[in-house]
């Protein structure tokens, strides 16, 4: 699998005519002034190819993503607890 490290995965502002664009960005800013997709685009620079792929291959992740778990395992929410740092060193 090829991982995009710096591609813009969020195709956010692709309106066509300019009047609609004005209105569109006005409405979007009104919804929230925050721009979390920008943070997302910054984050991948610390990522390393193939690291973390084990998570994507787990049965838990696949059945959560595809929503095809049976009965009890059919869950809308997935929580991944971890002690890896956000801004903290994991390997010392």
């Amino acid at each position: 699998m090829i991982l995009p490290y710096s591609t813009n995965s969020f195709n956010m502002y692709n309106s066509h005519d300019s009047a609609a664009t004005d209105n569109r960005s006005e409405v979007l800013t009104w919804l929230s002034p925050l721009e979390p997709h920008l943070r997302h685009n910054e984050v991948p620079t610390t990522r390393v190819k193939d690291v973390g792929d084990w998570l994507l291959r787990t049965e838990e992740f696949r059945s959560w993503k595809n929503g095809d778990g049976q009965g009890e395992s059919q869950k809308a929410t997935m929580f991944c607890p971890g002690n890896l740092g956000v801004g903290k060193t994991y390997i010392r």
Partner: protein, 201 residues
């Protein structure tokens, strides 16, 4: 020296969901919590930011959103959306295509807003049971997550296998990040020692 962060996993999951060949219609909205930015991350602006991403992925802004915008604009200085309105919109807009909401580092987000966000997510799932919510955080937040998602939460601990750690270190060593000249023997020693140490953490 080396950093392997939980948000690397969140970002990997988000990119994977966006790039799925079979999931061209996937709508993916994300939020990275940051304790340093708590003030500007009210529950309302967090949920609003998720809604904004869902809306902007649609070709046309849905009528219910533009109607609400016009309604609120009538107030002097404009008025913000209420949390309950955001929840309702997120729920109804997410029922028409596969939608994923990914929130990273819940522990970086303090109460009472954290509970507000979790409760809102629960309400959104009630409206749109096909929506998928992906959360990361330090383990102690788990109880709270379980408490709020009464229909159950899939748990998957992030504990990278040693292969991952070794691959990470080797890549970083090859890049020469922050280490300068590295003796091959020393590299081998580091690669051998570090996973042993990390498993004791």
């Amino acid at each position: 020296m080396f950093f392997l962060k939980i948000y690397d996993y969140s970002s990997l999951v988000i990119d994977t969901l966006c790039d799925e060949p079979a999931g061209e219609d996937n709508v993916v909205a994300c939020f990275y919590f940051d304790s340093a930015a708590q003030k500007e991350q009210s529950a309302m602006s967090v949920l609003g930011a998720l809604l904004k991403q869902v809306v902007s992925s649609l070709e046309k802004i849905p009528k219910e959103v533009t109607d609400a915008f016009r309604r609120h604009k009538k107030f002097i200085g404009g008025r913000e959306l209420q949390l309950s309105e955001i929840v309702k919109m997120l729920g109804s807009l997410s029922s028409t295509q596969p939608t994923f909401l990914c929130l990273d580092a819940l522990d970086e987000y303090a109460e009472p807003d954290r509970a507000k966000v979790l409760l809102s997510l629960r309400d959104i799932i009630k409206i749109s049971p096909t929506i998928r919510v992906f959360l990361t955080g330090r383990p102690y937040v788990g109880d709270e997550v379980e408490k709020h998602f009464i229909e159950g939460t899939a748990l998957l601990s992030i504990s990278p296998p040693n292969d991952d750690i070794i691959r990470y270190i080797q890549t970083k060593l090859a890049e020469g990040t922050g280490l300068g000249e590295m003796d091959i023997k020393l590299e081998a020693e580091i690669v051998k020692k570090i996973p042993e140490t990390s498993s004791e953490m």
